[in-house]
Amino acid sequence: MTVLLKAKEVTKTYENAKRPSLNKVSFSVENGEFISIMGASGSGKTTLLNVLSTIDTPTGGEIRINGTDLKNLSATAAADFRKNNLGFIFQEYFLLDSLTIRENISVPLALLKVPPAKIEKNVRDFAKRFGIASQLDKYPCELSGGQRQRASAIRAIIKHPSILFADEPTGALDSSSATELLTTLLNANQELHTTILMVTHDAYAASFANRILIFRDGCILKELSKGGSDRHEFYEAIAAEIAKSDTTRTGGSLK
């Protein structure tokens, strides 16, 4: 497999902050991986995602995606880069209220200047594949949270991004909607080979990934690989790891 994303000693210190939010983080992502990023609140997960996706600029280190060095991108070039290479899923869905689901899903393709006929065909195929065909002509306010999040996931997947970034996509969903969404992501990963980088707090959600990075204080504390184990075993391994890191934390503060 080829390396898709390479982060080398990435550091991010916000203005007026005493400590860096990301402290010399290095790792790489291979094509077709599904990675979960876990860690306590404030450990730098969102910061990492922002920096990797050109939304924010790191204060140090180097990031390459598909061989492009993000440092050299101007604002406009960064926008183009996001348009051509990246997909996003947000915790609050962020579908446009005045657009139908069909239109919402079409936005990234329209932005990429895909021919209209092809857009329509793609939208139809994807809606069928991910089970929202009946909702295409509805408006976001007519859908449940889970359905909306699925639509927003399809919006991110449909343009076949090199990497899909998702920041707590299941954060606002109940467990069955969350499972549906995670299945959608898993499908995209397995069938369309979409590389996914997902931040989550939830060990169950993380268990859908095949590799897990656990963060603390802006550093990668631990890396877990699914390897040959099935999802349930993996889940238990993650849960155990989280529990362990929790005790070290309380242990630390007690000292």
Binding site: T76, A79, R82, F90, T100, V107, V114
Partner: protein, 685 residues
């Protein structure tokens, strides 16, 4: 913490947000106070008002003004309240009682409106000074400005009382709002999602048909006497047209526009572009949720533009027509040579005789036995203003010589027109028209048999002209004949009248001279003066002009500010959407384009309708209600053009201000806005 200090803290924390509110309230108070000061300025009113006309107009306008201020302030109050419902919801969640929140709002309003009052009083007083100065300069009034205080106490009192009354009304309406809304409602107020209805075809078509028939009806007036405006009646058709256009506008905006844009949404080829896929549905959504505001603004803007255009036209037209009503600087009839000498002596007191031309024109009257003579032949009164039309006249042609005609034109400075004349053959003549024939026909080529002594002569009309060399008070049905014919007349008859035309820069704008001549000639109705007439028109209509100008400015300020607030609040509400689009790969430039495309129609619709309504109304007014002394001279539409250009400029200014504020409001657009420029600069150096 007591509500007072709470409100104070709140204010100082979010200054930029409140600055906008403050600014908009100050603006209306400025207008209100300057107007009130003006209407209570007795020194001024005494000079420009005859028998209370201006006072009663002021009263009417002040009613409008008060309604407007209440409406405008409650609109902006409601606007700012809506912007803050979430914040108020948090107070409520934290355990603030509704009464405490209301108190907070009341104090805030008191702070802001109080501050705005101070600003408004100072600016309004300054504006009032400016108005007084402007009018006295325009009308040449001698006003002792020292007698007019900077702050008129009675006007201040009235303004302060009124503003406090408005604050009271605002507090009441806020109370009602808070009472009706639930805690949940407060928190989720902004997120209220409305269902997008699919636009229906019938009302859409209805809108188009109604508005087209309204404009069609207006256009019908150009058919002249054959049009329904004459056969049914001007006012009936006028009311009908106006109703059609108003109703048509309502349907056009609320149904037709969403329908048409909805069609575009289905047009696969055009729709799927990065910009349109966002702006098209958004436009439909916004126009549906804001239809009422937009319709109101459109009608307001149409009214304002129409009023200003018609007002400008009706002021400008008589001024432009002075060149026909009183072509010479001074003109009168003379009975004998002694009178001429007296007049010359009087003029000599005011100006150097070298610079002044005195031209005496003898007018000979002849009759024609034929039928089908021009309308001017039969006119049985002198023409001009209502004064002149009491002067009786017997039918006939009033002849002057071609040489005199040329000399007069040159003396009046109409060298270009004089230069275009090619001379007359013996039997040729030029017919001076009072106004062009309504059916568009022309007497050119007509032959009039006339009797001179024992001979009958056939005069052929070489051309017709609107450049009458003498005023209509002194001659109607003027025929310019060749010098040969003229000398025949001189041999046969004595002149019907002798007219003295006095021209020259040196006696321009000389009211005392006019007054003295008037006395010398015993108030003769035949005394006409070009400068004097212009002066008269100005002093008669300037107060009307001024007051209506107030109204128009008011209307436009209202339209502009409401559009501004409406657009920036929409942009502020969709901040998160823009952020999402930016993350998806829309560049700052693309987002700015989207913002422009969202804002533009909201300025364009009121402007376009205003423009259309104004053009049609001006056409109807001009054709139906005004004399046509100037023919098709395009210069007479100058004021309409000016009104339109000013309006366009005004809208453009507000549009630019609005998009600029939108840009700064949305983080990534702003960031990239600065970033791009920075980048450009770096690239250049």
């Amino acid at each position: 913490m007591n509500p007072l200090s709470f409100a104070y803290k709140n204010l100082s924390q979010k200054l930029s947000f409140y600055a906008l509110y403050l600014f908009s309230v100050s603006l209306v108070i400025t207008i209100f106070f300057s107007f009130t000061s003006f209407s209570m300025n007795h020194v001024m009113l005494e000079k420009i008002s005859e028998n209370g006309r201006v006072e009663s107009m002021c009263n009417t306008i002040s009613v409008f003004l008060m309604i407007f201020v209440v409406f405008y302030m409650s609109y902006s109050n409601r606007f700012f309240l809506k912007q803050r419902t979430k914040e108020l919801g948090i107070y409520a969640l934290l355990g603030c009682r509704k009464s405490a929140i209301l108190q907070l709002l009341a104090f805030e309003n008191l702070f802001i409106c109080g501050f705005a009052l101070v600003i408004g009083l100072v600016l309004g007083a300054a504006a009032h000074k400016g108005i007084v100065f402007g009018i006295s300069a325009l009308l040449g009034l001698s006003i002792d400005t020292a007698k007019i205080p900077f702050f008129q106490p009675s006007a201040v009192r009235r303004t302060v009382c009124f503003v406090f009354l408005v604050i009271f009304i605002l507090v009441l309406s806020n109370g009602r709002f808070l009472l009706k809304i639930s805690l949940m409602g407060l928190i989720r107020f902004e997120k209220k999602a409305e269902k997008n209805l699919t636009p229906r075809r019938l009302p859409a078509l209805l809108g188009l048909i109604i508005i087209l028939s309204g404009y069609g009806l207006a256009l019908d007036i150009v058919r002249g006497t054959k049009s329904v405006w004459f056969s049914i009646g001007f006012y009936v058709v006028g009311m009908l047209t106006m109703m059609l256009i108003v109703i048509g506008t309502v349907f056009f905006i609320s149904a037709f526009l969403p329908y048409v844009v909805g069609k575009r949404r289905k047009n696969v080829k055009a729709f799927y572009t990065g910009t349109r896929i966002i702006t098209t549905p958004n436009f439909i959504y916004r126009i549906r949720t804001n239809a009422r505001t937009l319709i109101m603004l459109t009608l307001l803007s149409a009214a304002a533009l129409t009023i200003s255009s018609i007002m400008a036209l009706s002021l400008y037209y008589p001024v432009a027509a002075v060149s026909r009503m009183a072509p010479s600087e001074l003109e009168c009839r003379i009975e004998n040579d002694q009178q001429t000498e007296e007049i010359k002596l009087t003029v000599g007191k005011y100006a150097d005789m070298k610079d002044i031309s005195f031209l005496r024109t003898d007018v000979y009257k002849i009759t024609s036995p034929a039928d089908g003579l021009p309308m001017e032949y039969h006119v049985n009164t002198a023409k001009g203003d209502s004064e002149n039309e009491k002067l009786l006249r017997t039918p006939g042609f009033e002849c002057i010589s071609y040489t005199d005609y040329l000399a007069l034109l040159n003396a009046q400075g109409k060298h270009r027109i004089a230069g275009q004349l090619t001379g007359l053959q013996e039997a040729e003549c030029i017919l001076v028209k009072y106004q062009p024939n309504q059916d568009g026909s022309d007497e050119k080529g007509d032959i009039y048999p006339v009797v001179i002594g024992e001979n009958t002569l056939s005069l052929i009309v070489k051309e017709t002209t609107l450049n009458n060399p003498v005023s209509f008070a002194n001659s109607v049905g003027t025929l310019i004949v060749s010098d040969a014919v003229y000398s025949m007349l001189q041999k046969e008859y004595t002149p019907e009248t002798s007219i003295l035309s006095i021209n020259g820069h040196a006696i321009k704008d000389n009211e005392p001279l006019y007054a003295e001549l008037k006395e010398l000639l015993h108030d003769s109705p035949y005394l006409q003066g070009s400068s004097h007439r212009i002066h008269e028109i100005f002093s008669l209509s300037s107060s009307t002009f001024l007051l209506i100008g107030f109204l128009v400015i008011l209307f436009f300020t209202a339209v502009g500010s409401i559009l501004y607030f409406n657009n920036i609040s929409t942009a502020a509400d969709s901040k998160a959407d823009y952020e999402m689009l930016w993350k998806m790969g829309y560049s700052g430039k693309a987002l700015r384009k989207i913002i422009r495309k969202q804002v533009f129609p909201f300025f364009m619709i009121p402007f376009a309708f205003g423009l259309l309504d104004c053009l049609f109304a001006t056409l109807v007014y001009k054709t139906g209600l005004m004399q046509n002394l100037l023919g098709s001279n395009p210069a007479q539409f100058l004021p309409t053009l000016l009104a339109i250009l000013l309006t366009a400029f005004f809208y453009l200014l507000y549009y630019l201000l609005t998009i600029h504020t939108c840009y700064t409001l949305i983080p990534h657009v702003r960031a990239v806005y600065c970033d791009d420029r920075h980048h450009d600069r770096k690239a250049r150096t």
